[in-house]
């Protein structure tokens, strides 16, 4: 099966009524969590993971993947209409989107960004579809030593990018690895750190960690906040003019390239790609002074980059089995729950899921484009619901969800513990995504580490002497050093921003 045939096969799966329904539900939930500040895409996906246990593999992944890319659509609505970015990657959209709304061009900003995002998504899916298969064939030649190095690189990137404190980032990595080691030893079956609890022999359930860190703790911390009281810009005209569309062509193409390139890097986050796109647009513009005052290029470029980034971030997951973010780690866990292992063998072992999910990205983005206009007012109304009532509902659904997976009340207790822990760590600005990624990858890293040493007759230098793994590990060190130095230089050089 070549890429084109695979993609066509994927469409035959994604377009079944059942999977269309899952995509629709996922898009709606994604937009909802994108609209609600404080509840991110990770939380939305974590809350629906228990439901995926009861669904067929392709449907479950399509549902969760739709939440993943639907959140970006929701985030930009509140950014443009209310200057309240629902997601971190939507911050840039507010720079020019909100001024456009104040000038009576809210509808144009919404429609232009939706169209640009759609175009960016479709272009990115085409690249993903045609690049994933050859890359996965290439990845089949990698051994455990190279996989170990790649996973270490991914974790290092997360730490280097996600937090200004290297210590906190590394602590979260070590903590995540420790959590993954609780339970039976994968080789000998010895009980490790179970404190005599037989329920812990199978390890800490991933759902308890994810839902506690991202779902329940998010709503507990944002309880009592109200965002719906902010003034909402009126939507007078929806369709962009010919000039608006013409002005958006360049930013859309550049945004697709920028977003896709950033998305290929494991550990990178979409917010960086949107900022990079904004900077690019301002640099190439003949009228940079218009940026910040309602330049349509400042909306179209970053929104396209955001969407393209999300599609591209599937490349490392599909070809190497390495998730680049906490949200993709949740998706990886959903794959594993369904008995599908993302990585180089996925296209041959589970072609229905692999191609079905890729094709569903086009289908999902069509749904999002269609839903974009009629539901804007509805999302704004959702913001009027007091967050504490919504929070209680989310907690109750989380409790039922986590219980239903194993029929275990012990899992509910673990959820409570990780929710409390999540609240405290978030308040202290520990990067929780690093812990989750390390937790998800922990057993794979350990397995790769042990296999490598067995193959090398317990010679630890094997990781350095293998040319590919040695290069990757050296790259990891260089990236951590370089990226951790840049912010401090930046802080010294950064001009002061006037406060009102």
């Amino acid at each position: 099966v070549n890429s084109f045939e695979g993609l066509m096969h994927g469409f035959s799966i994604a377009l079944t009524p059942e999977n269309l329904l899952f995509a629709l539900i996922g898009c709606l939930v994604g937009m909802l969590v994108g609209v609600l500040p404080g509840i991110g895409q990770s939380a939305g996906m974590a809350l629906l993971i228990p439901l995926s246990y009861f669904l067929p593999p392709a449907g479950a992944i399509i549902l969760l993947a739709s939440i993943f890319y639907g959140a970006a659509y929701g985030g930009r609505i509140t950014s443009i209409l209310m200057n309240v970015p629902g997601e971190s990657e939507s911050i840039v959209t507010a720079f020019d989107g909100y001024p456009m709304a104040q000038q009576g061009r809210a509808g144009v900003a919404l429609s232009t960004s939706a169209i640009s995002s759609f175009v960016g998504a479709v272009l990115s899916v085409i690249v993903l579809a045609f690049a994933a298969l050859p890359l996965s064939k290439l990845a089949l030649h990698l051994g455990p030593t190279e996989y170990f190095a790649l996973m270490v690189l991914g974790l290092c990137l997360v730490v280097a990018l996600i937090d200004r404190s290297l210590t906190k980032g590394l602590i979260m990595l070590a903590f995540g690895l420790f959590l993954s080691q609780i339970g039976s030893d994968p080789v000998q079956g010895s009980a490790r750190f179970t404190l005599g609890q037989s329920q812990l022999l199978e390890g800490i359930p991933l759902l308890a960690v994810i839902m506690g860190f991202f779902g329940v703790s998010d709503v507990l911390l944002t309880a009592g906040q109200r965002h719906g009281s902010k003034a909402i810009a009126r939507i007078e005209k929806l369709m962009p003019s010919r000039q608006d569309l013409k002005d958006s062509v360049g930013p859309t193409i550049r945004g697709t390239i920028v977003g896709f390139l950033f998305g290929l890097i494991p550990g990178m986050v979409a917010a960086v790609s949107t900022f990079a796109s904004y900077v690019t647009e301002k640099r190439v513009s003949k009228h940079p002074e218009k940026f910040g005052h309602g330049a349509i290029q400042g909306v179209a470029g970053p929104e396209t980059a955001n969407k393209s980034f999300e599609i591209a971030s599937f490349v490392p997951l599909f070809t190497l089995g390495i998730p680049g973010s906490a949200a993709l780690a949740i998706l990886l866990s959903a794959f594993l729950i369904q008995g599908v292992t993302p990585g180089p063998t996925m296209f041959t072992d589970s072609p229905d899921v692999a191609w079905g999910v890729i094709a569903s990205m086009v289908v999902g983005n069509v749904i999002l484009l269609i839903l974009n206009f009629p539901l804007v007012r509805f999302w704004v109304l959702i913001l009027r619901i007091p967050s504490d009532v919504l929070g209680v509902l989310v907690i109750v659904v989380s409790v039922v969800g986590i219980y239903s997976v194993n029929n275990s009340i012990f899992d509910v207790l673990l959820l409570t513990i990780f929710s409390l822990l999540g609240c405290l760590l978030k308040l202290l600005q520990f990067p929780l995504p690093a812990a989750v990624l390390a937790f998800v990858l922990g057993d794979r890293i350990e397995a790769a580490f042990r296999q490598s040493l067995i193959l090398a007759h317990n010679d630890p230098t094997t990781f350095i002497t293998h040319p590919i793994s040695g290069t990757i590990l050296a790259l990891a060190v260089v990236i951590v050093v370089v990226l951790k130095l840049r912010p401090s230089q930046f802080r010294k050089a950064r001009p002061a921003v006037p406060t009102p």
Binding site: G38, S88, Y98, A276, I395
Partner: protein
């Protein structure tokens, strides 16, 4: 007030030497609580690391197969203890600095950048923030210690623990309904009628959605007064 404004505009080293004590600002209190909490967390991390390391040694680092079950956890344990110790030293130094100063540093990057968002002020400064986009994003999601409604948070956790404790006695659906009702009343602070209606609607949805439609086993109550609920 005038004094406070003057104080806020002065560099730290100057204020501690020349000004009389004033009532600490909210930011100052926030920084103080955060510094103490950070130190406590780092100390707990160090202790956890030492425990993991000790346990790993008991598990065995090597065996006939090569690497023993304790080797990989030992790496985590050593990393946690060393990083926790480093973090403790840094947190202790920050706490001391905080106690010796009356003025806190200004708000973070996002707080500085926020006024520029969408208002057209100093977009250049915001654009130059691309290098720290992720740090800004993380800051945006971070809450403040003083901003958190601690009583509600504690209540929610206590209620969840209570649910775990009494679930087998009350049964899943009744236990969850009690949890939700109490959360609506005590955490969300809604009226009794609204809370009861929402709780009943949710309980019915959960019973039919999970218990009937998804066929999840929802344990019945063992409490004698609720025995009529068991089929």
């Amino acid at each position: 007030m005038e004094k406070l404004e003057k104080l806020e505009n002065m560099p730290t080293h100057e204020t501690s030497a020349t000004l009389t004590p004033v009532e600490p600002s909210a930011e100052h209190r926030e920084a103080g609580i955060k510094a103490v909490a950070e130190l406590a967390t780092m100390l707990v991390t160090t202790a956890l690391g030492l425990w993991v390391t000790t346990e790993s040694l008991h598990l065995g680092l090597h065996n006939a197969l090569g690497i023993g079950p304790g080797m990989f956890p030992m790496v985590s344990g050593v990393a946690l203890s060393v990083l926790g110790a480093i973090g403790s030293i840094v947190a202790l130094a920050a706490l001391r600095r905080h106690r010796h100063s009356s003025v806190t540093s200004g708000p973070g990057l996002l707080h500085n950048a926020a006024p520029a968002i969408g208002e057209g002020h100093d977009v250049d400064a915001v654009v130059s923030g691309a290098q720290e986009a992720l740090a800004v994003a993380v800051d945006q999601e971070a809450e403040t210690f003083t901003g958190v409604l601690w009583v509600r948070l504690a209540l929610a956790i206590v209620l969840l623990v209570g649910f775990v404790t009494f679930m087998s006695y009350l049964g899943f659906v009744v236990g969850l309904s009690v949890l939700m009702l109490l959360m609506m009343l005590l955490v969300a602070k809604r009226g009794l009628v609204f809370s009861i209606i929402l709780t009943i609607a949710t309980a019915i949805t959960i019973y039919y959605g999970f218990g009937v439609f998804l066929d999840v086993v929802l344990p019945g109550p063992t409490a004698p007064f609720l025995s009529w609920l068991n089929p």
